[in-house]
């Protein structure tokens, strides 16, 4: 029941905000803020519940679940379930929900009610994605994210918003349909093999597939998640969408939407098709490394500050892909950590850009410079997040990227060495931002008020979270561990199977 509430609260808040937004925009903001806060409190209480966590760690399949038949004739059920990985992602969602409501407090002045409706519904869709354990339901939530996001970009976005929004929509929708195709294929293959037709995740786990079928179905899922992640050749929509979206939209996009892709890889691609995923490793790792380097290089070439941050996302998310396909616990822990820290850090950078744009009405780096003198607080905060982005020790991102590299080094040393170049490039462009925007001569004489109390509070909470993660990452590791060790076992079993079959082969030959 608690799980249904978590999704339902933002949905309801969205409707209420829309209904009252016309008369009373302020109240709409408060309703949404409250809804996210309630969600956050619920989730934190869950996390704090030591007994349940311990029982779960001891080997329960889920921390919590709801499973109600929905269309029994087709084996569709309303199955929500929570484990450590989803719990972390949900907490991140609720937290960034608060942040995104907060950061649009003054930015959004038109159609406030509708804006918050869309914001809350994207959030609900994302939370649903993190919770759904029925593939049909998962697909529903997956699509539920799209439409409100489209509206966020297309109504409150910047100059080139329609192009960006349509591009975003077509990319994600099409890849989503490929996933639908894969889901249907999996459903029927499982049904033919076992006689029970079901979309339930638990039941579909361990479906025996021919290697050809498994490969194609895995690719269907991978396509959808790679677009969201985004992985290298299909990252194309991201810079446009991020750049044109309003600040809250960018925060949600970078902070949460991209994470659904990574989450999908961990939750579905690897457990459902361990063998096919292992076979796919070289390709995935190559894509990851290309993404890391390519994103970093391109972000260095941007003059639009927001676009720069967007490309840096491509680079950072490459580490997640690398971590997932490194097939060991350390790298997986790193990937989860990277998801959380990237969500917080990049979200903050987008807010920073949004705040600057709100003040000087441009995102062009060449028109900035010397902001430190007039807005020292802004400068300091920007400095912090730039350091976070380049992976300064003591901040969560460092741990994340370090673990990913450590883990993947065991898997593939060459790839990892190339990927670590990304870190170097990352520090170049991060420092470059700070240098161009906050130091140097003042190009722009527009008035630049420093951060007010609301903004300071938002950024402070993000800073505290990131530093906290940097110094005390253990709770995160502990929470994510049961889910990740399950993944790990699957991978080992898969590799074992490979070795056994190879041994058989060689045995047959000799």
């Amino acid at each position: 029941m608690m799980l249904i509430c978590i999704v339902l609260i933002p949905l309801l808040a969205g409707v209420i905000a829309w209904a009252i937004g016309r008369q009373n925009p302020g109240a709409a903001r408060w309703v949404c803020l409250l809804a996210c806060a309630i969600d956050l409190v619920i989730l934190l209480t869950l996390w704090n519940n030591q007994a349940a966590m311990a029982a779960f760690a001891a080997g329960g399949p889920w921390l919590m679940q709801v499973n109600v038949p929905w269309v029994p004739a087709l084996g569709i059920s309303f199955h929500l379930a929570l484990d450590g990985l989803s719990l972390l992602m949900l907490i991140l969602s609720a937290f960034l929900g608060i942040v995104s409501v907060g950061c649009s407090w003054t930015e959004i002045k038109e159609r406030v009610g509708f804006f918050h409706f869309n914001l809350m519904w994207v959030l609900a869709g994302i939370m649903g994605v993190f919770l759904a354990m029925d593939l049909f339901l998962f697909y529903c939530f997956w699509e539920l994210m799209l439409v409100p996001m489209y509206f966020l970009i297309v109504i409150w976005g910047h100059e080139n918003r329609i192009y960006a929004a349509v591009k975003f929509f077509i990319f994600t929708q099409f890849s989503g349909l490929l996933m639908l195709l894969a889901i249907l294929a999996l459903y029927f293959l499982h049904g033919h093999a076992t006689g029970t037709y079901t979309f339930d995740y638990d039941l579909l786990l361990g479906t025996k597939l021919g290697s050809g079928a498994a490969k194609w179905i895995m690719l269907g899922f991978f396509a959808a998640f790679a677009v969201k992640l985004p992985a290298f050749p299909v990252h194309n929509w991201l810079p446009d969408a991020h750049t044109e979206a309003p600040t809250a939209g960018s925060v949600i996009l970078a902070g949460l939407l991209l994470k659904t892709g990574a989450y999908g890889l961990m939750r579905f691609v690897v457990p459902l098709f361990p063998q096919a995923a292992i076979d796919f490793t070289p390709v995935a790792m190559t894509l990851a490394v290309i993404g890391i380097i390519y994103g970093a290089v391109l972000s260095f070439a941007q003059t639009d500050l927001k676009r720069l941050v967007a490309y840096s996302s491509v680079s950072h998310m490459g580490f997640v892909l690398l971590g997932v396909f490194a097939w060991n616990r350390i790298a997986l822990q790193g990937a989860v950590m990277q998801m959380i820290c990237h969500g917080l850090g990049t979200g903050a950078l987008f807010m920073m850009v949004g705040a600057i744009q709100e003040r000087i009405h441009t995102r062009n780096i060449e028109k900035m410079g010397g902001f430190w003198e007039v807005a020292p607080r802004m400068g300091a905060i920007a400095m912090f997040f730039a350091m976070a982005s380049l992976g300064l020790p003591g901040i969560g991102n460092f741990i994340a990227e370090f673990l990913v590299l450590l883990g993947s080094y065991q898997a593939n040393a060459t790839m990892t060495s190339i990927a670590s170049l990304g870190l170097v490039l990352g520090s170049i462009y991060s420092l470059w931002i700070v240098q161009r925007v906050f130091h140097g001569a003042r190009e722009n004489q527009a008035k630049l008020p420093d951060f007010a109390r609301r903004e300071i509070a938002l950024f402070a909470s993000l800073i505290i979270a990131l530093v906290g993660l940097g110094f005390f990452p253990q709770p995160i590791f502990k929470t994510a561990d049961p889910a990740l060790s399950k993944l790990q076992q699957l991978a080992v079993a898969g590799q074992g199977a490979v070795q056994v079959s190879e041994a058989k082969h060689s045995g047959g030959n000799s």
Partner: protein, 480 residues
Amino acid sequence: MLMLPELLVVATALVVLVIDLFLSERTRWLTGLITLLGLLAAMAAACTNTMHGALLGGRFVVDAVAWWFDILLILAAFVTVILSMDVLNGNTRVRMRGLGARAEYYCVLLFTLAGMMFLISSRDLITFYVSLELATIPMFALAAWRRDDARSGEAGLKYVILAALSSSLIVYGMALLYGLTGQTNLDAIGRILPNHVGPAFWFAVAMLVAGAGSKFTVVPFHFWAADVYQGAPTPITAYLSVASKCVGLAFMFQVLFRIFGGWLHDGSLLVSIFAATTMTLGNTVAIVQHNIKRFMAFSAVSQAGYFLLGFLGPNEAGVAAMLFYMLVYIVTNLGVFTCIIWYQNETGREEIEDYRGLSQTNPIMALMMMVSLFSLAGIPPLSGFVGKFFLFSIASSAGYHWLVALAAVNSTVSLYYYLRVIRQMYIEPPDADARRIPITKKLAVTEAFLFAGVVILGIVPTLYESIHADTATWLATLLR
């Protein structure tokens, strides 16, 4: 009792016609009300009738599928009558001129409905043919109802010629079937036909498939649809897009399952090619349309392509999936058309660009239109998605993965063009002098109900379950 719904519809048609003689101009709106009451009675009669059985020596049979089609058709006609009432009563801001007498309009509409209902229940070549024509011929008159509008007349005339062409193909095919088998009973023909495969048989197949394709707007037999949809009075366009599509599906059921059921499995490849071309062409052409009615015509063509997925296999779930998607399609499409009709009533406009700023001038209608369009595009968890999902899964289980992939691409394309309308409503600013556009109670209530249907049918699949349960064994009795 079995035929009661059909008889009630015919009786209502006659009563409306007669009562009109005794009404003054001021009370003539009552004819609409009587029509509605008659349809309600027919609906009640159909709903309370749980019996299946045969009448007239087996020439008229009510079974599970016929029962569901009756319900769907009455529903479509009921909503169409409500949508027509404002227009016919002159209750609109922008008067639509050249509309003839109301009673005749309702009467003709009811006769087409009766023809459609008889069509799915008929088991004999003669009743089958006559009910088909009863469903089609009055439609010509309805399409051309606006006497002073050149486009309406043009639409009617084109409809006459092209529909008569398809009818003549059908009747010639029937003649060949009768010549081959000596039977007029559809089931008997289906049973005997396998012994008579030859040139004449294939000729008959081609004729009937072409005719059926034309009724169901399957590419390449769809060409009448766009002009007729655009020229006809908008409530009739709505009726054409749902009821006529529904009866097209009923016709396909009769021909493909009942007569050619034995070959349907071998013909799957052909069906899949028809499905592929229909959805692709419908979608591609819809992208460049400017007139919203024409736009909806091509959208309807592409939807016909999705329906065809249900014939692949063939299996029992296909029947239920097609019927369910028809229900969803009727509710959703009428939801869109309610908005189109309302907008035309209030502003007299029907270009897509004219919808700019609708979200400001009437946010609630804009929302409902948007949700309906999303449902047509198949966005979960709306009913359109669920319906399409069932159809896709039929094709997938029949092994037509390439077709499902193509259908997926088509869904993406269709989303693009439905978004064109939504973009006008939500992103473009309204005209400077635009004011809030009011809505009559009738239309508001109708749209609210349809909207609820669009949302609820997707989330609460009880209706699908009952359709599935009702028709689970239907196909098995036909495919021996």
